[in-house]
C-alpha cells in the first residue's frame, strides 16, 4: 500500500499533467491551416492574391 502511494507520488512528480488536466489552456500549435472567418473575407483575399478558394464542408459525427 505504502509502496503504491509512494510510486504514485513519484510518478506525479516526474510526469507533468497535460495542460488541460491542470486546468490551464493548451498552447496553440505552431502551424495550422488558417481558415477564413467569413465567405466575404475569403473572396476578398482570393481576389487580391489571385488564388483559388478551397472550401470544405463537414458535419459532426
Amino acid at each position: 500500500m505504502l509502496r503504491t502511494i509512494l510510486a504514485s507520488a513519484l510518478l506525479a512528480w516526474i510526469v507533468p499533467l497535460p495542460a488541460f488536466a491542470q486546468g490551464k489552456p493548451a498552447t496553440a500549435p505552431q502551424e495550422y491551416v488558417h481558415w477564413a472567418s467569413s465567405w466575404k473575407e475569403a473572396l476578398s483575399q482570393a481576389r487580391e492574391r489571385n488564388v483559388p478558394i478551397l472550401v470544405t464542408f463537414h458535419e459532426d459525427g
Binding site: Y32, H34, R47, R49, V51, I53, F57, H58
Partner: protein, 223 residues
C-alpha cells in the same frame, strides 16, 4: 474525415497557395481556450484557429449556393478567386489526395501570391500608408520600398502597381514638405527649412522629391 489530415504539415504548406474555408453548422465538438503568443484565444476543437461561430456563419453563407438537396459530408470544393466553382470531391480525402486537389486548382487559376508573401507585402504597404498619415516619411519610404522589392512581386503586376502607388504617395507627401521648407525659407527661417530638406533627402532614397529637395536646399544655401 481523418483527424490527422488538416494538422498535416504538408497539407498546411499546400493551403498557403489558396484561401481555405471550413464550413460546419454543428458545434457539438465544442471549443476550448488556447494560448497563442501572449493572448488566450477561444478556438473550435474540430479545427484549430477558427471560432465555432465562424464556421457556422460560413456554412449559412454558402450552403444554399454550393449544396443542393441531400448532402453527405465531407465535401471539398475548389473555387475561382471570384467564388465560382471549379471542381469538387465528395467523401473523405487523404493528405496526398487533398494536396493533389489543391494543386489542380492552383494549376487552373495560376500561381498567385502565397499566404505568407501576401501578409508580408500587404503589411508593408499598410505600414507605409499609416506612416504617411503620421508624417513619418522615413518609415513610409522604407516600408513601401521594401514591398516593391519583395521577390514575390516579380510575377504579380497588380501588386507591383500597388507598391509603386505607395511610393508615389510617399513622394507626394514629401513634395508637400519641400513646399513647407520653401515657405519657411521665404519667411526667413532658413535653418528650419534646411533641416526639413536635409531630413527629407536622408529619408526618401531615390524618389524624385529628393532631387527637388536638393535643388531647394542649394538655393537656400546660395549655391
Amino acid at each position: 474525415m481523418d483527424r490527422s489530415v488538416y494538422p498535416s504539415k504538408d497539407l498546411i504548406k499546400a493551403t498557403h497557395a489558396v484561401v481555405a474555408v471550413y464550413a460546419n453548422k454543428n458545434t457539438d465538438h465544442g471549443s476550448s481556450e488556447v494560448v497563442r503568443g501572449e493572448e488566450k484565444v477561444t478556438t473550435c476543437k474540430a479545427q484549430f484557429g477558427l471560432a465555432c461561430e465562424a464556421h457556422v456563419k460560413v456554412m449559412q453563407e454558402i450552403e444554399g449556393y454550393f449544396l443542393k438537396g441531400q448532402i453527405r459530408t465531407p465535401i471539398h470544393l475548389l473555387c475561382k478567386p471570384d467564388g465560382s466553382e471549379l471542381s469538387r470531391k465528395d467523401g473523405k480525402l487523404s493528405v496526398k489526395d487533398l494536396i493533389a486537389f489543391i494543386g489542380s486548382g492552383v494549376k487552373q487559376v495560376g500561381k498567385g501570391l502565397s499566404r505568407d508573401d501576401y501578409f508580408v507585402v500587404k503589411g508593408k504597404l499598410d505600414q507605409a500608408n499609416a506612416a504617411i498619415g503620421q508624417g513619418d516619411l522615413k518609415t513610409a519610404f522604407a516600408a513601401a520600398d521594401e514591398a516593391r522589392k519583395h521577390p514575390s512581386l516579380k510575377d504579380h503586376k497588380a501588386w507591383q502597381e500597388k507598391a509603386e502607388q505607395a511610393l508615389q504617395y510617399v513622394n507626394e507627401a514629401a513634395m508637400e514638405r519641400v513646399n513647407q521648407a520653401q515657405a519657411a525659407a521665404e519667411a526667413g527661417d532658413a535653418e528650419g527649412a534646411r533641416q526639413l530638406l536635409q531630413q527629407l533627402i536622408a529619408d526618401c532614397g531615390n524618389l524624385s522629391c529628393v532631387a527637388t529637395a536638393k535643388e531647394a536646399l542649394a538655393k537656400i544655401e546660395g549655391k
